[in-house]
Amino acid sequence: MNLDFKKIELFAVTIYSLSSLALFIILAPLISIFLITDLETIDKILISDYRYTAQVYSAFTITLEASVIATTILLLIGIPLGYLLSKFEFRGKEAIEAIIDLPLLTPHIVAGIMILSAFGRRGIQGIFGFGGVEDSLTGIILVMMFVSLPIMVDTVKAGFNSIDIKYEYIARSLGANRFNVFKDITLPLAKNSILAGYILAWARGVSEVGALLIVAYYPKSINILIYEWFMVYGLKYAAALSVVLLSLFILIFASIRVLTR
């Protein structure tokens, strides 16, 4: 829609104003955090002061390791689950869909308590004597998987749903069984949705902090470190580390947009 100032419609003005407000809500904090951060502090936490750099690089490594493992496992289980929910009709399907979306509605702290009770000393670990999620990399991975699973499954399922059923029909009439159709037709056609699911689930996992505070404060992941610095050193250092994290996110998302254009 082109805004013609000679005939300004109330409708168009309303749309533009409300859209600007929506953008402002995101842009104001984003710009502000960059404005209050000075390069000297960034230099200190990333390069020159070992007291900070050691913590930062360790937290980034742990976050990256846990998030990649969590999202990759989610990909392997999310694709079959998304496919099942997209292509099969069975009793209890709606209930399963509701259960999958539960982490989206669960308060993060509550999610942490749930994970701890299921997989911690009072849960699977206590019963079977193996595992151990408290203050461990496994705990971080589990938390990331729990909060990201709905995003992965819903995005992949939407991708499978968007494929016209005729392609699968034609492939079968040409001699392909269900597995071949999945491999040769459905999966390649849902490629973009699967990639989107991976990126969104990864981003969701990396951004989690509430459940991590309960399950795995240690080893410190990047959000826990930001939280701790905010409590110990105040806004200055927490904002500087946040800017580094945000810049990385922006860089990754911009690169993916360019690569998949």
Binding site: Y169, A171, G175, D184, I185, P188
Partner: protein, 238 residues
């Protein structure tokens, strides 16, 4: 020969009943009837995409009613041709052979032969999005015929062509059919297509197959009369 006996399909409250129809080897059967009468459901039932609630489908005397689509050797060309968008023309045409385990040499030979036949040999490396409607139609037919199906199901394959291309495509299909003598079941609303291509016409009305006619019988039937009347009225208007 394809034999259909007492088929009943119920989908979301819609019921399709086909009491009896035989499609002989090499025959070009037209399926006509008003919109929403179940013509596509009929094709999908034969192809095995829909399992009938009642009745039997036989191919050369073998009961295929419970067989999955991949075991029936029936190919289909939908209205918009349904070329796999992520595969080029060569990959589209060769897909059925690849899945059947043909060697690369055999695949190349067969694709080359059929693409020369259908005059699409210069399109083999193009993606479907770069093809015209007429080219897509030829590629879809090549992909369907290369597996040497027992029957080719055509679901309004000429509908999306403009009038000039439409006439050309009818004549093209006619020539192709005369050369290759394949068995076909062709759904259409177009009486010209039906008369030019068909050996017989099956007519569906209110979810039932009301009859199978020779072209002459169809003109004399109440359903044929409606079409002829429509054409007369149209010519008066022009």
């Amino acid at each position: 020969m394809i034999e259909i006996r007492d088929i009943e399909v119920v989908i979301k409250g819609f019921k399709l009943e086909i009491d009896y129809i035989d499609i002989r080897d090499g025959e070009y059967m037209i399926v006509m009837g008003p919109s929403g009468v179940g013509k596509t459901i009929f094709l999908h039932t034969i192809a095995g995409f829909i399992r009938p609630d009642e009745g039997r489908i036989y191919i050369d005397g073998v009961d295929v009613t419970r067989l999955p689509p991949e075991e029936r050797n029936i190919s289909i060309v939908p209205e918009d041709y349904g070329l796999f968008p992520h595969m080029n023309v060569y990959e589209n045409i060769s897909y059925g052979l690849k899945i059947r385990g043909y060697s690369s040499r055999e695949i190349i030979n067969k694709v080359t032969k059929i693409s020369q036949y259908l005059e699409i040999n210069d399109l083999l490396h193009k993606m479907p999005s770069h093809l015209s409607a007429g080219e897509k139609q030829r590629v879809a037919i090549a992909r369907a015929l290369i597996i040497d199906p027992k029957i080719l199901l055509l679901d309004e394959p000429l509908k999306s062509l403009d009038p000039r291309l439409h006439i050309k495509a009818i004549s093209y299909l006619k020539n192709l059919r005369e050369k290759l003598r394949f068995t076909a079941l062709h759904v259409t609303h177009n009486i010209i297509e039906a008369f030019y291509l068909g050996d017989r016409i099956s007519y569906l009305s209110d979810g039932r197959l009301v009859g199978t006619y020779t072209l002459k019988e169809f003109i004399d039937s109440e359903y044929g009369e409606e079409y002829i009347k429509g054409i007369r009225e149209l010519s008066k208007m022009i």
